[in-house]
């Protein structure tokens, strides 16, 4: 068994925490796991992605065209990573809220619409799910749980070789004690959003 996941977003959105939660859960289930972080200089605002590999694997990097799922905190980042890494049978889950790059604000670079991004993603992979994870996070009780909403959505797809109970256990261990309930709620809201759609 091999499962390749890439979690991406913009620096500061929490994608690295998400990758550690999923990796913890994989270890709880008894798998071998590797997480490779890819980001440039340590400042915020740049593109960030974490490669999470589970099962019969050795290296910390996903090969091109072989990500089973890409979980993105930001629409354009989902396309940036998918174009190189998404497997033709792969699935993309992304939050719908754009974080405009400084290049766009400065006027030199147009930012494609979500419809455009979704259309291109569909050409690259099999399934695309765009959800308002930030709104669900707010509903759960804190906007910073957007990453956990997306983990819930990932769990609901049924592709991840890890049961929800391990993910919930891992979330409880990784997030601050006081925020456990809000995070679990965020997980459930993300889960339901896919199950219902």
């Amino acid at each position: 068994m091999k499962f390749n996941l890439i979690i991406c977003g913009v620096g500061g959105q929490g994608s690295i925490l998400s990758s550690k939660i999923i990796a913890d859960a994989a270890i709880k289930k008894g798998y071998e796991v590797r997480v490779g972080e890819t980001f440039g200089a340590a400042m915020r605002g740049g593109s960030v992605s974490s490669h999470v590999k589970i099962g019969d694997i050795h290296s910390p990097l996903v090969a091109h065209n072989s990500a089973d799922v890409i979980l993105s905190m930001e629409p354009l980042e989902s396309l940036r990573v998918s174009v190189d890494y998404l497997a033709p049978q792969g699935i993309v889950i992304s939050d719908i809220r754009p974080w405009y790059p400084v290049d766009t604000n400065a006027g030199g670079a147009p930012y494609p619409s979500n419809d455009e991004i979704i259309a291109e993603l569909k050409k690259l992979g099999k399934e695309v799910h765009f959800l308002d994870a930030a709104a669900l996070a707010k509903k759960a009780g804190h906007p910073r749980t957007t990453n956990i909403v997306l983990i819930g959505a990932l769990a609901a797809l049924g592709k991840l070789p890890i049961e929800s109970k391990y993910l919930i256990e891992a979330i409880k261990e990784r997030v601050p004690q006081k925020t456990i309930d809000v995070n679990i709620k965020a997980f459930e809201l993300g889960f339901d959003s896919i199950k219902k759609s």
Partner: protein
């Protein structure tokens, strides 16, 4: 008790490579660790600093890598188990004693960890530090995964004591900054006795000039080499698998993980020989000879420069000159000579060496190329409310008032962002002699960036040959103490008319907010004396020293002008704590800023400030409340007072 110090042998945790190295040192009973932070190595020191008091160990963030190395070396000479860790660039500073300490060796286990950064994700260069460690004739470990990083670090202390030599452990970004399953081993409770013996086993052991002198000490070093050779031959970190084949692969470190995946993908597992090395230097000659005997074609796969390949080729020249070897050297190379290795280029390189057909979906490649055209670049920025945004704005504005082509020499730290530019900016170079481009973002202000401490030195050379125009250099607080002090003394001594601007934000931010001599905290959390940058500058003989708040643009312009107008070396300190640290302490100001949409004229002055909390759409600027830290800088640069402050 911190999770990483738990003595629970057998339990499995997800750990970063750096955490695994720290855990290995804890298990080995390290007594002293001294480091200077540098990505991707910093977490080794962070972990050992956090647990130092609990485990009754000594930890310090030293002022630079040389200092860290000497502190750790001194501890080892006194008998303690010691570790130093740094990044590739920092290792260059250490070379002097690194090449000399080996002549007398060490007493307590001494492990030097260096994290290289192939691909230059966080570094000025891609240098492979194994080359220097080979030159020093040391044992070099190169782990391929996190658990092996733990095991090797632990082992490195033991073998260092047996060989009485420092041991080098080479990591790379994809090991240090990747995570994987790590099994806890037993934590040793044994501690080396501290004591100093001037003539330990050899006369004048710790005095390289002690009679009969350095050459005899080198003879002693060479007398250790057979012991090292025997060790690598028997080490379980070097594994040779011989199959029914005439083809073999030699690999080491992280590259071995890509090789194993490629072999599985290409259905070649156990169909070709594999020499899976964990030790780079020296090579296990008998194992390599056996591989050579069984092969007529070898592929060498390693991360970085062809260090192992060179050694294998040298041995092959002696033992089997007709063998074909492919790696990164010579025209038959199958791997790239720049950038890092990855699952794709390793699989493709092996396929090419073996003349295997590479299936390429051309239609998909065309589709990807088309899609890439609409993927806007996301240039990195400084953080919302970063004090450097104010410093750079003030610097740009004040420099506009001076004639001639000013030069701003950069340095290494978050402020190097001031030279990153925006990828979407394209410039037409019309005049080769005067590439004085219009500065249109704070990310264009730095003209030179190389390494820590280089800016202030280069500035002096530019002045001494008569450059017309103002000459500045920029450095951060940690960099000031790291490598700027001798260079600042040089500016006074040799009378260089330059303006040295110190961006003091209290922490060593770019590597993850480690404390330094201006922070007031030591690496183990204890309170520390704060060393004043202005007093040090004055004591060195700088007569123009001025300080301003980086959040006060007019004030910053005033002190910059004072420095630039002074005839002689001047120091300008722009001070304000890193906004992220303030945010982490949840210190929110009792006011917030807002852009009045009807007053905004869309001039983009606030966008040019470079703050990522400023958005711009439909001809108007706005503030992203989720990012804004209410630093007031955008309100200060708005020419029409459209940005207002409200109490909350």
């Amino acid at each position: 008790m911190k999770w990483i110090t738990k003595d629970e042998p057998g339990s499995i945790k997800l750990m970063m490579g750096n955490e695994a190295i720290a855990r290995g040192a804890i298990e080995a009973g390290v007594q002293l660790t001294a480091c200077y932070p540098g990505t991707p190595s910093s977490e080794i020191g962070e972990v050992l600093g956090e647990v130092a008091k609990d485990l009754n160990q000594y930890f310090e963030w030293s002022t630079n890598e040389t200092v860290a190395f000497e502190v750790a070396a001194g501890a080892s000479l006194a008998g303690a188990r010691a570790l130093t860790a740094m990044k590739n660039a920092g290792f260059n500073l250490v070379m002097d004693n690194f090449m000399t300490l080996t002549y007398g060796g060490v007493k307590g286990g001494f492990v030097v960890v260096v994290a290289d950064d192939p691909g230059a994700h966080y570094s000025s260069n891609e240098q492979d530090t194994r080359i220097e460690a080979v030159a020093a004739e040391l044992l070099i470990f190169e782990p391929q995964d996190q658990n092996q990083a733990r095991l090797m670090t632990k082992e490195a202390f033991d073998i260092s004591e047996k060989l009485e030599l420092p041991v080098f452990l080479r990591s790379v970004t994809r090991l240090s900054h990747a995570s994987g399953n790590v099994e806890f081993g037993k934590i040793s409770q044994k501690r080396n006795t501290i004591g100093f013996n001037k003539h330990w086993k050899i006369p004048y052991r710790w005095d390289v000039y002690g009679p009969p002198g350095p050459q005899s000490k080198r003879e002693w070093l060479h007398s250790r080499l057979p012991m090292m050779a025997e060790y690598v031959e028997n080490s379980e970190f070097n594994k040779l698998t011989i199959c029914d084949s005439k083809i073999g692969i030699v690999t080491v470190g992280i590259a071995a993980t890509y090789v194993k995946e490629a072999l599985a993908e290409l259905n070649l597992v156990d169909k070709i020989h594999l020499l899976d090395l964990g030790i780079v230097n020296p090579l296990p000659k008998a194992k390599v000879a056996e591989l050579l005997n069984n092969s007529d074609h070898l592929i060498v796969v390693e991360e970085g420069d062809p260090v192992v390949e060179n050694a294998v080729r040298l041995l092959a020249k002696e033992l089997k000159p007709e063998i074909i070897i492919q790696g990164k050297l010579f025209d038959n190379r199958v791997f790239p000579t720049e950038g890092e290795m990855d699952p794709d280029n390793v699989r493709i390189g092996i396929s090419n060496a073996l003349n295997l057909v590479i299936n390429k979906d051309l239609k998909r490649e065309e589709l990807k190329a088309a899609i890439k055209k609409i993927i806007t670049t996301r240039s990195s920025t400084l953080c919302p409310g970063c004090p450097h945004l104010g410093s750079y704005w003030a610097m740009r504005k004040i420099l506009e008032k001076y004639e001639g082509n000013s030069i701003v020499n950069g340095d290494i730290g978050c402020y190097e962002q001031g030279g990153y530019g925006l990828a979407t900016n394209t410039f037409e170079i019309t005049d080769e002699d005067n590439k004085n481009f219009k500065i249109n973002s704070p990310y264009e202000i730095l003209d030179t960036i190389y390494v820590m401490g280089s800016g202030i030195g280069m500035a002096q050379g530019q002045y001494q040959v008569g450059h017309k125009g103002k000459i500045l250099a920029v450095a951060g607080d940690s960099t000031f103490f790291h490598t700027c002090l001798p260079t600042l003394a040089n500016a006074v001594y040799n009378e260089a008319d330059i303006t040295f601007v110190v961006f003091d934000n209290t922490w060593t931010c770019m590597t993850g907010h480690q404390p330094n001599p201006v922070t007031g905290i030591k690496g183990n959390g204890d309170v520390a004396t704060i060393i004043s940058i202005e007093k040090v500058s004055e004591a060195l003989g700088i007569h123009s020293v001025s300080v301003a708040d980086a959040y006060d643009i007019e004030g910053a312009k005033k002190v910059l002008k004072a420095g630039l107008d002074y005839n002689g070396p001047a120091v300008v300190i722009l001070r304000r704590e890193c906004a992220l640290q303030v945010l982490r302490r949840k210190e929110f100001p009792p006011f917030e800023f807002e852009i009045l949409q009807d007053k905004c004229i869309g001039c983009k002055a606030c966008v040019e400030l470079g703050c990522p909390a400023i958005t711009f759409a439909n001809g108007k600027a706005d503030i992203d409340r989720a990012l804004c830290v209410d630093c007031s800088l955008c309100a200060q640069v708005c020419p029409v007072d459209a940005i207002i402050c409200r109490s909350v």
